[in-house]
């Protein structure tokens, strides 16, 4: 899709509160294609939506910055309006709902009762567990009890963002509130995690669309992340990969290599250890809008072991090293001896020579004594 076309589409999507069926089908099909669903699946969504069979969505906010919601607000195919009004029924969302206070709370309870076992619970933000979870309360209830209550009666639970997926920034050391991710709090329940700081909205859209169209959840990895988005490392599809293979690295920000668009590994890029589709599905479909695209190393925000734990400019191990863009010669110089090995060999050799010298001296002395005694006789 060209940029002009994109702009065109954005305009129609944003201005069109009177979305035509044709445009709607187009929107759903494109969203489905963007996340790897077939057009047949897209048509199922359209059919379900036209019959008014829209899944009810309850969106919970806990310890977070609302960045995930903010990024969702900026998707354009489908536009947010299409998503929350036509594709799903967003019944409870603290940032977007028109209602407030008791009215909003009533809405939440009513939705849970009306769509028991069928609604989608989306969790944004970490859940504090220390001191019975008193560090985050909504309507007098702790986040801990709220998430358990809502998730228990939900048809599907999706944790969006790194905070909800594994604790994120609130759980970073020293973690004063005992913050945890939704999967750790909701043990024994399948929680689809869509980590990212913020998460790419398309990965949420894809998961929700599949649930809407087929009633199933996408295939997940061992950390609950959809494989369609988190199956490979960023390194594998990085546009700067050729520079890595050729050994061309930016050594510091603003140097010649950095200006030439060389690989950012030595500046601390976590791409080789980070599973996410950022390199193929750019953020909010703005071309090049992702950390490596704008010249900053990947910070590994989708990986629990990296994000907010390993300093941003610390280099990581390469998960599966591949051959570089060079070739060995037909007959290579082999057998270089390390300094330690030659030192040890020197000590052993020296010891032997010393021992030999001492022994020969002794033997020589013995022979001499014998010889002299022989002479005396």
């Amino acid at each position: 899709m060209g940029r002009a076309e994109l702009e065109n589409w954005r305009e129609t999507a944003e201005s069109g509160n009177q979305l035509q069926r044709r445009d709607f089908i187009k929107a759903v099909t494109m969203a489905a294609a963007a996340v790897g669903l077939s057009s047949a699946a897209a048509m199922k969504v359209v059919e379900a939506a036209s019959k008014g069979l829209k899944p009810s969505v309850i969106w919970l906010h806990f310890q977070e910055c609302t960045g995930c919601t903010e990024s969702l607000l900026r998707t354009s195919h489908p536009a947010l309006s299409t998503l929350i009004l036509d594709l799903v029924s967003l019944d409870y969302h603290e940032t977007l709902s028109a209602a407030a206070g008791h009215q909003a709370e009533e809405n939440l309870l009513a939705t849970m009762e009306a769509h028991e076992g069928a609604y989608v619970c989306i969790v944004e933000g970490a859940i504090p567990t220390k001191d019975d979870g008193i560090y985050c309360k909504i309507a007098g209830k702790t986040a801990l009890s709220l998430v358990k209550e809502v998730a228990d009666r939900a048809g599907a639970v999706i944790a969006i963002g790194s905070c909800a997926s594994f604790g994120g920034i609130p759980a970073a050391d020293p973690n004063p509130t005992g913050a945890k991710g939704a999967p750790q709090v909701l043990e024994g329940k399948t929680v689809v995690t869509i980590p990212g700081c913020p998460a790419n909205p398309y990965n949420l859209l894809g998961t929700v669309l599949q649930f809407v169209a087929l009633g199933t959840l996408p295939a997940l990895d061992e950390k609950g992340r959809p494989k369609f988005a988190y199956g490979r490392t960023i390194h594998e599809h990085c546009p700067r990969r050729a520079h890595f293979d050729a050994g061309r690295f930016a050594q510091e920000f603003g140097d010649e290599g950095h200006r030439q668009g060389y690989c950012l590994y030595k500046l601390g890029c976590k791409g080789p250890a980070t599973h996410a589709n950022c390199s193929t599905q750019h953020f909010g479909e703005v071309p090049g809008a992702w950390p490596i695209g704008i010249g900053h190393p990947c910070v590994g925000c989708t990986e629990q072991s990296l994000a907010f734990r390993v300093p941003i400019h610390t280099t990581v191990d390469i998960e599966r090293p591949m051959p570089p863009d060079t070739y060995p010669p037909i007959s290579a110089d082999q057998g270089s001896v390390s300094a330690v090995a030659s030192g040890v060999a020197g000590l052993v050799g020296g010891g032997l020579i010393g021992a030999g010298w001492a022994a020969s001296k002794k033997l020589g002395g013995g022979d001499g004594a014998e010889g002299s005694s022989d002479k005396e006789e």
Partner: protein, 313 residues
């Protein structure tokens, strides 16, 4: 000890007679023939683009750890400089003013393998049907005679491990679960069971199949474009008694590290003909002569000593 010169000579003579009278075959060993369903590979330098997909596939199919090579501690790349304990297959580059060529190196799966002949406990064996030279670490004592005997310098050792094994290409024998079948003129295993390097090659620069099929294909290529290949020759057809991995090249084989002038005799054949000369042609003549000379020197020295110490009481 009191063995006088006379009795010592008697013993030596007796030994010689005993050795001579033992019934010995005139030839200890006949060179091995090409097995009935010899499997092999055909690599064509004119097709290889040096993408190293085969190197990557080999590593993962054989579960080998990466070798950072000249990059050392940084471990950014899998960059072996030669075959080694972590690398069973490698792509090298030859470059001079006239030529530029990639070169794939792995076990040649010799018709008469030197490594299997040198292996004292039968750890390295040639499959009697497919001719693939396989390695069983259970019997290996780590003597590394196979490494010294290999004319292509292929067998390698895991020097960095406490319990090391010999490492060399085994034509992905461990992947085979089903019998090979003949499809479209070539012997094929089901997808994912053939040699990994051949399965992933994007230009079919390396292909696998039965040796006779590959040889036929190689000759077809030579006939189709005369002058394209060096000396219109298939390396491995007869070299070193024949190998089951065959090479076609536009560059002289010697420049690619292949011992062009190795001759048509297998290494074991050469080794046995030397041994034959020593032990079988005139039975034990050479050892007897050598020990005789040694004994002569010893006795002469002893006599000289006795003469010196003659004055002792």
């Amino acid at each position: 000890m009191s063995v006088d010169r006379r009795s010592m000579l008697k013993i030596l003579a007796g030994g010689g007679v005993a050795a001579a009278s033992a019934a010995l075959p005139t030839k200890a060993r006949a060179p091995l023939e090409v097995p009935p369903a010899a499997m092999g590979m055909l690599y064509d330098t004119t097709l290889c683009i040096g993408c190293k997909t085969c190197v990557v596939a080999c590593k993962s199919a054989n579960d080998r750890t990466p070798d950072p090579g000249p990059w050392g501690e940084e471990a950014l790349y899998d960059a072996p400089v030669d075959l080694n304990g972590k690398t069973k297959n490698i792509i090298k580059l030859y470059k001079d003013d006239d030529y530029r060529s990639y070169m794939k190196m792995q076990c040649m799966h010799c018709v008469d393998p030197a490594c299997a002949a040198a292996c004292m406990l039968g750890s390295l064996k040639k499959n009697p049907v497919t001719g693939v030279v396989t390695y069983n670490p259970d019997y290996c004592v780590g003597c590394r005679y196979c490494m010294m005997s290999c004319p292509f310098n292929v067998a390698k050792f895991e020097f960095d491990l406490a319990v090391p094994n010999i490492v060399k290409c085994e034509l992905c024998s461990h992947r085979i679960e089903d019998e090979a079948t003949l499809t479209a003129g070539f012997t094929r295993y089901p997808e994912g069971q053939g040699p990994a390097c051949c399965e992933v090659c994007p230009r079919e620069a390396v292909i696998y199949g039965r040796r006779d099929e590959l040889l036929e294909e190689a000759k077809r290529r030579i006939a189709a474009s005369p002058g394209r290949y060096y000396e219109d020759r298939v390396f491995g057809e007869t070299e070193a008694g024949g190998t089951q991995v065959l090479y076609l090249s536009h560059v002289p084989f010697a420049k690619l590290g292949l011992p062009e002038d190795i001759g048509d005799k297998g290494v074991p054949d050469v080794a046995y003909s030397v041994q034959e000369g020593i032990y079988y042609k005139v039975p034990f003549a050479i050892p007897v002569a050598m020990y005789g000379a040694l004994a002569f020197v010893m006795f002469r020295n002893r006599k000289a000593n006795e003469g010196e110490g003659g004055g002792k009481p």
